[in-house]
């Protein structure tokens, strides 16, 4: 399991969600999704709070959270880079794109750069197979990538962000 982040968070942000879903059976995944919407990840303190309010043990909650690939346990960077490793992308050379992106950012899957700018997540399919190979950065899709093109996109984003 990935390590949970121990930074303290404002738990009052969670109360509306808990008021709405804590007593509705079968809502644990929904609660976790809302939690991640609020904080950007699942903070360990939130797990304890959800446990108090729903009666599910922290072990059960973490068991569910770690089962699904959607949930993260560390804060993510300003740019969330989702690199597609689907079949169509693989056939069109996604591995070389992945190497270039990891080399350019100096991080691997599920890591964040030290400057807090980029997080990388390798995902199974973004469903834009005809544009393969693709990556998605903060909801924008970049298609027909080459290693050089991918590097340039990341460099431009970094330049943009550091100029601000």
């Amino acid at each position: 399991m990935q390590e949970c982040n121990h930074k303290s968070v404002d738990l009052t942000l969670l109360e509306d969600t808990l008021a709405q879903y804590a007593d509705v059976k079968g809502s644990l995944i929904t609660i976790l999704q809302k939690t991640q919407d609020i904080y950007g990840y699942i903070p360990i303190d939130a797990v304890y709070r959800i446990s108090e309010r729903t009666g599910a043990s922290p072990a059960k909650i973490l068991g569910v959270a770690t089962f699904y690939s959607q949930f993260r346990f560390q804060a993510v960077g300003q740019f969330m880079v989702m690199l597609c490793k689907g079949t169509a992308c693989y056939v069109n050379g996604a591995e070389r794109i992945a190497d270039a992106v990891m080399d350019e950012l100096g991080i691997r899957d599920n890591q964040t750069t030290d400057d807090g700018l980029f997080s990388l997540s390798l995902v199974s399919c973004l469903g834009c197979c005809s544009l393969a190979p693709v990556m998605m950065i903060n909801d924008k899709v970049y298609g027909s990538l080459t290693p050089d093109k991918a590097r340039k996109i990341l460099r431009d984003l970094r330049k943009e962000a550091t100029a601000e």
Partner: protein, 585 residues
């Protein structure tokens, strides 16, 4: 009649820049222009995106492709002047158009034509007629009978007769029953379910309501992949509209039938495509499959009778009710009726969604509709059914597309992912790719699947790294059969298929890796050697500049040389060289 400009805004279209095109058109249109601007979903011709459909005053369609924001002026000028020859440059070419005209569309019949955000558009296209017919003139048993006549089978992969599942759920005792739509399209390379939800959400709602009526469910749930945000937005809006117009909720269309639909976003787990795992996930648990029996029809969601069908299955239902079971059964083969949607991707010229009657051959689809292999390469194999399926070689291209014939090859129909590969794709590599996927996605419940896939992956890994041993192929086969026999659910039972089919049809590639330490497709980087042909080298030095590890040295007027001990086999020199002087062995 007013001219209409319609921009295709499915996920693919938006990724290709349809949003910017729409904004440019909006900006260019003046209030005086006698034309409307709206959106539609995905017509499935992904290779032509962004697509803008222009209907002139007579209602004739001028389909513009690869549209850029700069084309907005041309399009609006054509509409304003009535001179549609202005569009000649960007209008679809006849050979590309044949991609669409050679298809038979039932599940996708409205996709890319109607506005998915407008219930009125759907109603104008005979929407909710089938629901009205069912509620006013048919008993639940009548509905099941029509579906039985149609021969509709589950489009999610297993191909189980839909009427049988509906009937079993109907016959199960109890008042509390559930209808569930599986929209957790997890097969990498398949996106037809997303297209249906994004482009024709009311069709899904109508099909689900008819199913709910047939089994006697008052509550229905759509379990959608969280990675499909646009699909969730469009479906949420469609549900709201349907409820407002009385197609959802209490006493639908004045009948005694009451049913509501809600959406549950999945959280990313391939195994949740298995119906009992999906139910566990709906209940807020880890998505691990249950023992069957009891089947969901007897004990499903909250242990109540439940019926689960896939999106594409529901997308056929309203058409079948409107046109009769016989019309659907008239298409297809002896054991597979109707049409099937395939997501054709990979190395083809024209990739996208293809809906065809069962009974066409793989060659018809890959060469006839998708235009064959691009960039002058040769067809090697087509992968059907994703991680649960297999690779079919060139000599079986005339295999007929139906459940039985495809299973006989060792592949499966699956949900309809069709990834086409050429001579640059390594078959051992593709088997390893799928094994990596299933290893990661195995829920861990059954030992054979959890550890077996891991071990299979390790063996494949050593083969692609040139460290394979004699007997590895036999070991793979033995382990594959063990995993198949020892797994509880479809994921584990089918995970070995990509390995078994590549061994069956491409054994020589395995042998080349193991015995000769060669990758025939020149794809496995560990087995490649790059060198510069001194005859062809013009000493320009561009390869040396590109080399990320400075493995290439040389000077003016002398051929450059690659140091194999430093070379990381990334291939950038080969891609850079304008003279084709870099050889790879």
């Amino acid at each position: 009649m007013k001219a209409r400009i319609v921009v295709g805004e499915g996920s693919c279209g938006l990724a290709a820049g349809a949003g910017e095109v729409f904004t440019a058109l909006e900006k260019r249109l003046s209030p005086e222009t006698d034309a409307s601007l709206s959106i539609t979903g995905c017509v499935g011709a992904c290779f032509l995106e962004p697509i803008v459909d222009v209907y002139d005053g007579q209602g004739a369609l001028h389909r513009c492709v690869h549209v850029t924001p700069e084309n907005a002026d041309t399009i609006v000028s054509a509409v304003e002047t009535g001179d549609y020859s202005l569009l000649n440059e960007i209008v679809i070419q006849p050979e590309d158009e044949s991609f669409l005209t050679k298809q038979t569309r039932i599940a996708l019949r409205h996709c890319g034509i109607i506005n998915p955000e407008s219930i009125d558009d759907y109603l104008a296209a005979d929407g909710y007629d089938a629901l009205e017919k069912v509620l006013k003139t048919m008993s639940p048993e009548d509905v099941i009978e029509v579906i039985k006549t149609s021969g509709l089978a589950g489009r999610g992969g297993a191909g189980f007769p839909t009427w049988f599942k509906w009937n079993a759920a109907r016959q199960s005792p109890g008042d509390e029953k559930y209808l569930i739509c599986n929209a957790d399209e997890g097969d990498p390379g398949a996106f037809m379910d997303r297209a249906v939800i994004e482009s024709d959400p009311h069709n899904l709602i109508e099909g689900m309501l008819i199913g709910a009526y047939a089994i006697g469910a008052k509550e229905a749930v759509v379990y959608v992949r969280a990675e499909y945000p646009l699909a969730i937005v469009r479906l949420t809006e469609a549900i709201r509209q349907a409820r407002e117009r009385g197609y959802l909720g209490e006493h639908i269309l004045g009948s005694d039938f009451c049913c509501d639909i809600r959406i549950k976003a999945g959280a990313g787990a391939f195994v949740c495509g298995e119906e009992t795992a999906l139910i566990e996930s709906l209940e807020g648990n880890r998505g691990m499959p249950r023992l069957k029996p009891p089947f969901p029809a007897a004990e499903g969601y909250w242990r109540k009778p439940s019926n689960i069908n896939n999106v594409e299955t529901f997308a056929n239902v309203a058409w079948i009710i409107n046109n009769g079971g016989e019309a659907f059964a008239a298409m297809g083969t002896e054991n597979s009726k109707g049409t099937k949607v395939f997501a054709v991707t990979g190395k083809v010229c024209r990739g996208g969604l293809v809906e065809i009657p069962m009974g066409m051959t793989l060659r018809d689809v890959i060469f006839g509709i998708a235009g064959g292999i691009r960039d002058g390469h040769e067809f090697k194999a087509v992968q059907l059914g994703g991680p649960s399926g297999g690779c079919i070689p060139a000599e079986l291209l005339d295999t007929v597309i139906d459940y039985k014939s495809l299973s006989a090859t060792g592949a499966i129909m699956g949900s309809g992912g069709m990834v086409v590969m050429d001579d640059t794709t390594c078959m051992v590599g593709i088997a390893k790719f799928f094994l990596d996927f299933t290893t990661k996605e195995s829920c861990g419940k059954c030992v054979h699947c959890r550890i077996g896939t891991k071990r299979l992956g390790e063996i494949l890994n050593r083969i692609v790294n040139g460290e394979g041993k004699e007997g590895d192929v036999e070991l793979l086969e033995e382990l594959c059969n063990t995993v198949k026999a020892g797994a509880l659910c479809g994921l584990g039972q089918s995970a070995p298929n990509p390995v078994l089919t590549t061994i069956k049809y491409f054994r020589h590639e395995y042998d080349a890796h193991i015995r000769d330490h060669k990758c025939p497709a020149k794809a496995c980087s560990a087995l490649l050697t790059y060198s510069i042909n001194p005859e062809a080298c013009k000493s320009c030095g561009s390869c040396a500049k590109k080399c990320p590890v400075n493995a290439i040295t040389g000077e003016k007027k002398k051929p450059y040389v690659i140091d194999p001990n430093i070379c990381i086999r990334c291939g950038s020199c080969r891609n850079t060289c304008k003279f084709g002087a870099v050889d790879v062995e």
